[in-house]
Symmetry: C2
Subunit: 243 residues, 2 copies
């Protein structure tokens, strides 16, 4: 719990926030995790968890999520959306998790409801600066192993939420893409979010119909294959079309 200001008073030991930060590297969806080391039955273990923490007395849930993400990963100015509260009585059934948290927080841990937040971000150099120092790491979704608490479940539910959210707000997908992207990248992203392969030709028709995805006069450079055209997302046109 790096940077945890021990003078801050916790609101209680029952309410936490956790942040699911999702990025796309052009090939795969990744989630930002932090490394955890603990000791259980005299054995040291290493695993990972979502950036999260109990909340302080003087902060609202949204504030706590922002604070936690910054403290644990250095990320700031990131848009966080609350998507679900997780409060199963089984969340804290693994003694490993309970003991780790009790040591980290120096307090007794019982039932904890966590309020989960989601952020879709562009994985770029600025964002990655200093992640190592924070013991934070981007992990591709298929490579995520057993995480602390119910964090695997929280990530699964985040993905289900993203699908619904993108249905209602297609613009959200472009938060994951670089400013200039290829049709292949956009198609790959759709495939990953919806979990289905998409036919290439149908997808080019789909792009043409999107109206707010604008072809640029610019192509990829220094690639072995035929250089693909770049596109960009036009937020103004999107807003006009959606009104």
């Amino acid at each position: 719990m790096r940077n945890m200001n021990e003078k801050q008073q916790l609101a209680n030991n029952h309410i936490s926030v956790d942040c699911v930060v999702i990025g796309f590297d052009g090939e795969r969806l990744k989630v930002l995790l932090i490394k955890r080391a603990g000791e259980e039955n005299g054995e040291i273990f290493h695993d990972m968890k979502l950036p999260g923490s109990l909340i302080y007395m003087d902060e609202d849930l949204d504030e706590a999520a922002k604070r936690v993400l910054f403290e644990l990963t250095g990320l700031k100015n990131v848009h966080l959306t609350q998507f679900k509260a997780f409060g199963s009585k089984d969340r804290t059934k693994d003694p490993k998790d309970v003991h780790w948290l009790e040591r980290a927080m120096s307090m007794k841990v019982e039932r904890i409801v966590t309020v989960a937040y989601l952020s879709l971000v562009k994985i770029d150099r600025a964002l990655n600066r200093g992640l190592e120092e924070y013991q934070a790491e981007w992990v591709a979704l298929p490579d995520v192993k057993a995480l602390a608490f119910d964090h695997n479940l929280i990530i699964r539910e985040a993905m289900a939420f993203i699908r619904q959210y993108v249905d209602a707000n297609p613009a959200a997908l472009f938060d994951l893409l670089p400013r200039k992207f290829t049709a292949l990248q956009l198609r790959r992203l759709y495939e990953l979010v919806y979990g289905n392969p998409i036919d290439v030709r149908n997808f080019h028709k789909k792009i043409a119909l999107m109206g707010y995805v604008m072809p640029l006069d610019e192509r990829e450079q220094g690639v072995a294959h035929r250089a693909a055209r770049y596109y960009r997302f036009d937020k103004k046109i999107y807003n006009k079309l959606r009104r």
Copy 2:
């Protein structure tokens, strides 16, 4: 807190659930509230609140929501969807609310995060049976006065959630309508959910385009005006069209 089994152990005094149950009487959207009486500064007060309660040790959030709704209103077999957690530090700033809850629960109350659930139901005779006995009442949304805690905010956010939800799942609207409904009722419902008047003629075109709203060979009976045709929602066709 009628029917509250005092032998049940509360998980803690920090986590509650609240249920926003919305119905449509053909004219107006209504929310199911329960009456509250308390004493503050030696004065008796009467107001209303959402059906809600702290959670028990042995129950998950979804279970708590179901239990609370049944205990406080008699409703069961109602589909509840979690839509947002409310955890502002200002939620419990009104001493009236804190004192009332402390008396009701016989415990000290501090910061409480509440997980809010939403249900869209048909207001029919079966549903209304026994509501009075429970001190529960349907209140039209424009008539809702200042409620306990942040319950006015929770209802506002529920309405915003409904709009988004109906955009993604148009079928949800039909949960609010009787099995047979008129075009006027459906239009009125759209107007209330989206907060905009809808042109009658455009709306009839819209219904024709819906595919899953089927005209019946049946009309209203015993009305002073020209008897309107009934329609019904066809879930099978809806599912086929949406696939």
